[in-house]
Amino acid sequence: MKLELRQVTKKFGDFVANDSIDLVVEEGQIHALLGENGAGKSTLMNVLYGLYAADGGEILLDDVPVHFSGPGDAMAAGIGMVHQHFMLVPVFTVAENVVLGTEPTGPLGLLNVQQARGIVQEISDKFGFDVDPDALVGDLPVGVQQRVEIIKALSRHAKILILDEPTAVLIPQETDELMEIMRQLKASGTSIVFITHKLREVQEVADTITVIRHGKVIGSALPTASQSDLASMMVGRDVDLGVRSRNSTDGGVVLEVNNLDLADEEGRILLDDVSFTVAAGEVLAVAGVQGNGQTELAETLIGLRKPTGGEILLHHYSSLQPDDASDQGDQQVTTTENLTGKSVKKVLSSGVGFVPEDRGKDGVVHGFSIAENLVLDQVDSAQFSRGGSLKMKSIASNAARLVEEYDVRAGSANATLGTLSGGNQQKVVVARELSRDLSLFIASQPTRGVDIGSIDFIHSRIIQARDNGTAVLIVSTELNEVSSLADRVAVMYNGKFVGIVPPDTQRHVLGLMMAGVSHEEALAQAGRGTTSEDTQAGAAS
């Protein structure tokens, strides 16, 4: 089925979310809608799916104008949508979820479970989804839940499938599987609208790319277009994360982690004998496919998780005198703190700054003002309170200073944090953590969900902290970020450090290491060239 949008416009008040958008999706085509968060991709699809009424323009299916007043109409017309947040009932089985709303019923209105299972089995077999109709949805991994959503859409005879940021919730392996599914669906004649902001995925799977920015179609491109071309269309300027200057000094070791082990309550190993050091004035970036223990490593270092073995040591140095800068060594270690198993509060007050991975969940309080968020983990310090009483003036002046210094775009420092954009919220978190006197700065995914402009700013601040002699540990799944910031790159796989390599290590070598191949072997494999191409393609994710 061919889908055409003509001059579709959607306004919210006087904000134009979609401005005269033209879009043609041919039958059996994967059409990527590429754009940054907030560009208007999801709004457009919600218009198409009948969730929003368009303020102008028309929708044509096979050249026939159609009008949807709700998702039911859209579904009946053959449009299926898989939302970013799944619409599944966790306590129902796959089969029950798939037929929900169109349940096949037998005599007396009883649910025909057999038929429901048949539907699931048929679609699952046809496309090789490998989904058990009797499994409880709540027990399934996210990637499989997504397939259930797709089965649900297909069981309603969807000819056009809208996937709204389908890979946002997936780990890379699942992403690859999803891509395969998309190709199969395409082969069977289903048209797919693939909404994303990830360039690699677009290049890998799309037939045509339409770039949307600020509610307008900026242009279209073929998947062969270079990443930098696509990125510059998306954000409106050439994005070059580039390579920051590397550190030049040899600082003493600040963070020393020895044989760190961590297991969860079920006894699964999350960290396995991890040892490393981070020196003053150095950025160590921990790279790896998400879910290989990096998050847990950061959380263990900060005290949110109690390690099951090993030790975490923090070395404090006296300020370096010019004359003894030449013979750096043990004599400069003034104190060593053992942070193993200490509380978060203790770790933070030892001069450790922490930017958590999930900003909205762990980093900020949305209902608090910017000023309050800027002191969230420091209210007990002498700067902001005395004898349990807050120093309101000090909190306000701190906020005024940091809002200015970190270029937080807000009406005032008393504005509620929830009214800020993701990038500005992250600047608040980074400002809070970096505004203290730190020996160690730990940032987990410091620029996740942040616009390009803010990424640039946050990166420059991190580098600035490094140049001031702070030891920096970055956990990131973005290789661009890793190679831009790191002085050394540690690659994690399955709770272990596979190796620590220089930041200019070739990307596919890093990719192999992320799949668990040791550095030497990865270099050797890379040297052999084409023989291991398949492995590389899989691992480079």
Binding site: E372, G388, S389, L390, G418
Partner: protein, 433 residues
């Protein structure tokens, strides 16, 4: 720019009762006011419907509609003016009824402050009833069973009330902190435990009037009682106001309150910021329990006739939930809500006596108020008010525009920040290779 619109405010599903109640409890002041208006209107309909004069005139409504409407006006006007005279002012007693209202409001303010504090911490403490009973038990025993000089005796009784309530708050607090036990369930259960505990204590000789086996305590020693200030107002009201100021200070100006509010809004962020989430729950329950316990003092120390009996807490603990909700969990709001409910109660008795309007109407008023506050969209629909979420977005948009203008004024190569993206780019660009 549009990123601002994506600010994920309140879009996460509420995760537990506590958060739901936190949200309900923070609805707008306008909603509270309109809820009261609607409740009075519904009350008016019920008053008229229950009035025999109106019913009779209704029989010949079409023959003489004037009769019906005058009966209508008479019944509603009569009831509400009796309510007013009983709660605020009448020509005979002048402002004496107002002092009665204030006296009734004291325990509601204490317990309302306690619950409001819990709501803001994300805890749905509905154990005020039990906490009041425990406070009353300790306060009462110290009031009649101990001989101390005046002043000191009162302080000891106040401390007893606070400690009794705090103990009863500590139990669910520590259980939640250590085992994750749901505070709603634990406090409900402890309410029952408190009732039976007091019931059993009242069977003991130590708690009974000498020579009697009735489950009623002796009267309080005069040394333990609140000094009267004016009319029915005694020191208890001043203490309640003082408690409101203290709670305000604690929540808004102390590090403890900062932590409590942070944990109430987002426990994960609190934990990551190094706060001891479990301990802040415990503190909220201890302080809240103590405040609820103080509500018992006006049941025992205000009037010479008061005694410790099984009904000492009446339904105060549950009315206080309404008071806290209506007061939006803020101290000032709680004072006004407490006064309103105190007035309804004081006026309700007079209304029943003078016009025969059943006092149950007051319960209806209270219930409708809660219902409407719990469902702000209903109030908005009735009064065709704009949705605050939309207003917020409009505000964000206005701010965006202002910022855009600001940045447009800057040179064409501004520094970092998403505003920079706006600058000098071709509107459309074809890339293919």
């Amino acid at each position: 720019m549009t990123n601002l619109l994506e600010a994920p405010v309140d879009e996460r599903p509420t995760r537990n009762w506590g958060q739901t109640w936190t949200k309900v409890a923070s609805s707008s002041a306008l909603t509270s006011f309109l809820a009261i208006v609607v409740a009075l209107l519904i009350g008016a309909i019920l008053i008229a419907a229950a009035d025999s004069g109106v019913q009779q005139a209704g029989h010949y409504l079409f023959a003489r509609p004037g009769d019906f409407f005058s009966a209508l006006g008479k019944s509603i006007g009569g009831a509400y003016s009796a309510l007013f005279e009983g709660a605020i002012f009448n020509s005979r007693q002048l402002f004496m009824p107002l002092t009665k209202t204030i006296a009734y409001s004291v325990p509601l303010i204490f317990a309302g402050l306690a619950l409001g504090m819990g709501f803001r911490a994300g805890l749905f403490n509905i154990g005020a009833q039990g906490q009041i009973i425990l406070g009353a038990t300790l306060c009462g025993y110290l009031g009649f069973g101990v001989n101390l000089p005046g002043g000191l005796h009162l302080i000891v009784c106040l401390l007893g009330a606070f400690i009794g309530g705090a103990l009863w708050g500590f139990i669910p607090g520590i259980l939640k902190a250590k085992t994750g036990a749901n505070e709603v369930i634990v406090t409900i259960m402890l309410n029952s435990v408190a009732v039976f505990l007091l019931g059993w204590l009242l069977t003991l000789k130590a708690f009974q009037i000498p020579g009697s086996s009735n489950p009623v305590s002796p009267k309080m020693n005069p040394t333990a009682r609140f000094p009267h200030i004016i009319g029915n107002i005694d020191l208890g009201f001043l203490l309640a106001l003082l408690a409101a100021v203290a709670v305000w200070w604690m929540m808004e100006r102390s590090t403890l309150g900062f932590r409590i509010r942070a944990v109430g809004e987002n426990p994960d962020a609190g934990r990551t910021a190094g706060m001891n989430v479990a301990m802040s729950y415990v503190w909220v329950m201890i302080i809240g329990g103590g405040l609820a316990g103080l509500a018992a003092t006006s049941q025992l120390l205000s009037d010479p006739s008061q005694q410790l009996n099984i009904n000492v807490a009446a339904t105060l603990g549950f009315d206080a939930i309404t008071v806290a909700l209506l007061g939006r969990s803020k101290p000032l709001g709680t004072i006004f809500a407490g006064l309103l409910f105190g007035g309804l109660r004081a006026g309700g008795y007079i209304m029943q006596a003078k016009t025969g309007t059943p006092i149950d109407i007051i319960l209806v008023l209270q219930s409708v108020i809660v219902l409407l506050i719990a469902a702000p969209p209903l109030v908005r629909a009735i009064f065709r008010l704009p949705d605050p979420e939309r207003q917020r977005q409009a505000h964000v948009r206005a701010m965006n525009r202002a910022l855009k203008k600001q940045s447009a004024g800057k040179p064409p190569t501004p520094p970092e920040g998403e505003l920079a993206e706006e600058v000098d780019l071709p509107e459309s660009k074809e890339v293919s290779s």
